[in-house]
């Protein structure tokens, strides 16, 4: 497959600002503030969102931010750059040793060598610790990116994701463990608990709902489910770093007022299996941009 133009690489994700259920502090000066007034935004959220992104599009297209992380990840993957100078040539992402193309859209899947269903990020970390000498404990110290740093494994996930650009999501459900992961993820999605009695489904189980101005995809439905995959990993405009699906799950559990899911745990993998299988058949446009 040809290397896509930078311009096309940037998938514009859902825009959202300000007060989510739980407000977040954004330290870094963000790109231009609200381009539209609240009243305009109210008329049509979709229009407002689109309009706002149009303002950024030029900047984004001139300098596709996700591309930088793809390049860094590719470097780590190909150039024996790990602490031990090892190589990822033996890393099997599900399609054979060293095969990257098309692998991202076919995970989570069952990996016999680990006897586990693993999502892309979990598998990448598995390989980086196994073949490149990274220490899992170190990776766990900073699993997600922040203003100061996008960790190496996030760049590698971004690279791996870029190598499935333009391909249809095809997460396998052949192995019994893969089917089990789907069912467990489905149960987690619907499980209400915590001080506010929330489950994922409370916010993502109906069509066309919003929290404030943020559209809530109905993730149980095929047409909407791709929103859990499209544009991830995403470049966060309000901070200048890459965020993965693992981060998205973590932050939604926070909004759900749950305790924190352990990084790379089955709970998150099964949830991603459920969401991604629901999205099967849709074409992935590569790493994108999120608010």
């Amino acid at each position: 497959m040809m290397k896509p133009l930078l311009v096309l690489g940037a998938v514009v994700g859902t825009l959202s600002c300000g007060a989510v259920l739980a407000q977040q502090v954004v330290n870094k000066p963000a790109p231009p503030k609200k381009a539209v007034t609240k009243q305009e935004a109210a008329k049509s959220t979709k229009d407002a969102t689109t309009a706002e992104f149009e303002k950024f599009r030029e900047v984004l297209e001139a300098d596709s931010p996700a591309e930088l992380f793809e390049a860094k990840g590719e470097d780590i993957w190909k150039n024996k750059r790990g602490p031990d100078g090892g190589s990822m040539a033996q890393c099997d992402l599900g399609l054979g040793a060293g095969v990257v193309r098309g692998a991202y859209v076919q995970m989570p899947r069952y990996f016999a060598d680990a006897d586990k269903v693993m999502d892309a990020e979990r598998r990448v970390v598995h390989c980086m610790t196994r073949y490149l000498g990274y220490q899992e404990a170190d990776i766990r110290k900073q699993p997600f990116s922040n203003e100061q740093n996008t960790p190496d494994h996030v760049s590698v996930v971004t690279y791996v994701a870029s190598q499935s650009r333009g391909m249809a999501v095809a997460v396998p459900q052949k192995h019994p463990r893969e089917r089990e992961a789907y069912e467990l993820g489905k149960a987690v999605f619907a499980y209400r608990a915590g001080p506010y009695d929330f489950s994922c489904e409370t916010c993502h189980g109906d069509d066309g709902k919003r929290i404030r101005m943020q559209q809530l995809p109905n993730l149980a439905k095929k047409e909407d489910a791709m929103k859990s995959f499209q544009g991830w990993p995403g470049y966060r405009m309000t901070g200048g770093f890459m965020l993965t699906q693992q981060w998205r799950m973590n932050d939604c559990f926070r909004q759900q007022r749950f305790p924190e899911p352990k990084y790379l745990s089955d709970a998150v993998t099964t949830l991603l299996t459920y969401l991604t299988v629901n999205a099967n058949g849709n074409v992935y446009k590569g790493p994108g941009v999120k608010r």
Binding site: A42, T202, R212
Partner: protein, 204 residues
């Protein structure tokens, strides 16, 4: 009613539910065991938040649609635990109510411990016309008092709805703000005023 009796009532109510197919049941309990393995406490968010209370268990087991008799009984239970203000006054200050309705802060692992926390109301409801950034998980509450009246019965309905939405609708998506100690008496009164006071912008 004491807690033990209440719990046993909830449990027996749960038993009245139609038993799910064997496979579903296995996945559900397996999923719960997995959650308990895979979560860690962070900040104020302790792992006991993963435990279902009786009402959550009934809603979870019935896909939020329990048999009518079960729902009614448990709604009565929830209602019995609502504490109405001792002074009998239910209308507070709508201006303060507006501020509480705006705030979405509270109870996440990045929030500080302690009260007061916000009401999250605009996350799910349209309320005052000036605020155009509102969610749609719940119905619009614009003109609520104007349309529904603001007499004693309506005041009591709104107070108890905010205190415990599940006392009126067992598996509602709306949190039980008073029941879980998120909003206190004064805050709930202010919110009742926001919705019912005829001087509130909601009713203009």
């Amino acid at each position: 009613m004491n807690n033990i009796i209440k719990t046993s009532m909830l449990l027996s109510a749960a038993l009245l539910l139609p038993q799910p197919a064997q496979a579903d049941k296995d996945y559900r309990s397996e999923a719960i065991a997995m959650l308990k393995r895979d979560f860690q406490p962070r900040g104020i968010a302790s792992v006991d938040r993963l435990d279902e209370d009786g009402l959550q268990a009934v809603c979870n087991r019935s896909a939020n649609n329990p048999p009518k008799e079960v729902a009614q009984r448990l709604e009565q239970d929830q209602m019995a635990a609502v504490k109405l203000p001792a002074d009998g006054k239910l209308l507070g200050d709508w201006k303060s109510g507006e501020r509480i309705a705006q705030s979405g802060r509270g109870f996440t692992w990045t929030d500080k411990p302690g009260l007061p926390v916000g009401g999250n109301c605009y996350n799910c409801h349209q309320i005052s016309p000036a605020e155009t950034s509102f969610g749609t998980l719940g119905p619009s509450l614009f003109h609520f008092g104007k349309l529904r009246g603001n007499g004693p019965d309506m005041q009591k309905y709104v107070y108890t709805k905010i205190y415990n939405a599940k006392a009126h609708n067992l598996c509602s998506a709306m949190p039980r703000f008073g029941h879980v100690g998120a909003l206190n008496e004064a805050q709930i009164k202010d919110l009742v005023a926001l919705l019912l006071d005829l001087n509130s912008p909601v009713n203009k």
